[in-house]
Symmetry: C2
Subunit: 130 residues, 2 copies
């Protein structure tokens, strides 16, 4: 449990890995995670949970599939978006970004159904912020 | 459900009321709420849920009671903090702030146990962002 405030910029300065979320807070059985991102994540979906994104720095693109249709949303710094459960999505950031996510503890970073995971994407339920 | 990104600065520009949270996103059965705050809220506690705070602008102070002991945490812009369930707390901001909160949908802004609520504090489970 958080007992003193955490400055997100300081927390982000404590790691370099991309697509490798750190848990900065827990709210009931949910995690607040932060991640540095750059390039492409992987197409995946979460069967049982929505996923919340807030862009702290930079710009995040999220490609979304609905059947055969595909669309893209672009989140500028300070923007929020929720990917509904079951929706295939692929986050990416051409120039790099820092993001905050809110999702149930135990949610896997690459979802329940996914394309093969490239080496630069960490398969994790979130790491402790050391 | 959010279908396009929401810029938090634009969302904040759409209302003036203080201590009157707006729901900007839903994540499963949780709300993401934003609020403008200034002056003092009210001592209260949530029996059944933790409460997450992120300061978007300005500085937020949260007074916390643990039995007879009282302490205060100060959240600068970009800082996060979780008030554990059951802990009496009173947010305040001498110079005003904008904050983001995560909590279960239906969570009352003034908790389950509280001091008498002053007129400038809205008793709400969160308003729609119009």
């Amino acid at each position: 449990m958080t007992t003193s405030p955490i400055a997100l910029t300081s927390a982000l300065a404590r790691f370099d890995a991309i697509w490798s979320p750190r848990i900065v807070a827990q709210v009931n059985d949910y995690d607040v995670r932060i991640a540095k991102v750059a390039g492409e994540h992987v197409w995946h979906s979460h069967d049982n949970t929505d996923e919340f994104f807030l862009v702290l720095e930079g710009e995040l693109t999220i490609a979304l599939r609905d059947g055969d249709a595909e669309r893209t949303v672009v989140l500028a710094q300070g923007s929020v978006f929720v990917v509904p459960r079951g929706v295939e999505h692929k986050p990416s950031s051409a120039d790099g970004a820092s993001i905050l996510m809110f999702e149930p503890s135990g949610t896997l970073s690459v979802g329940d159904r996914r394309d093969s995971v490239p080496d630069h994407v960490d398969v994790t339920t979130g790491h402790r912020l050391d």
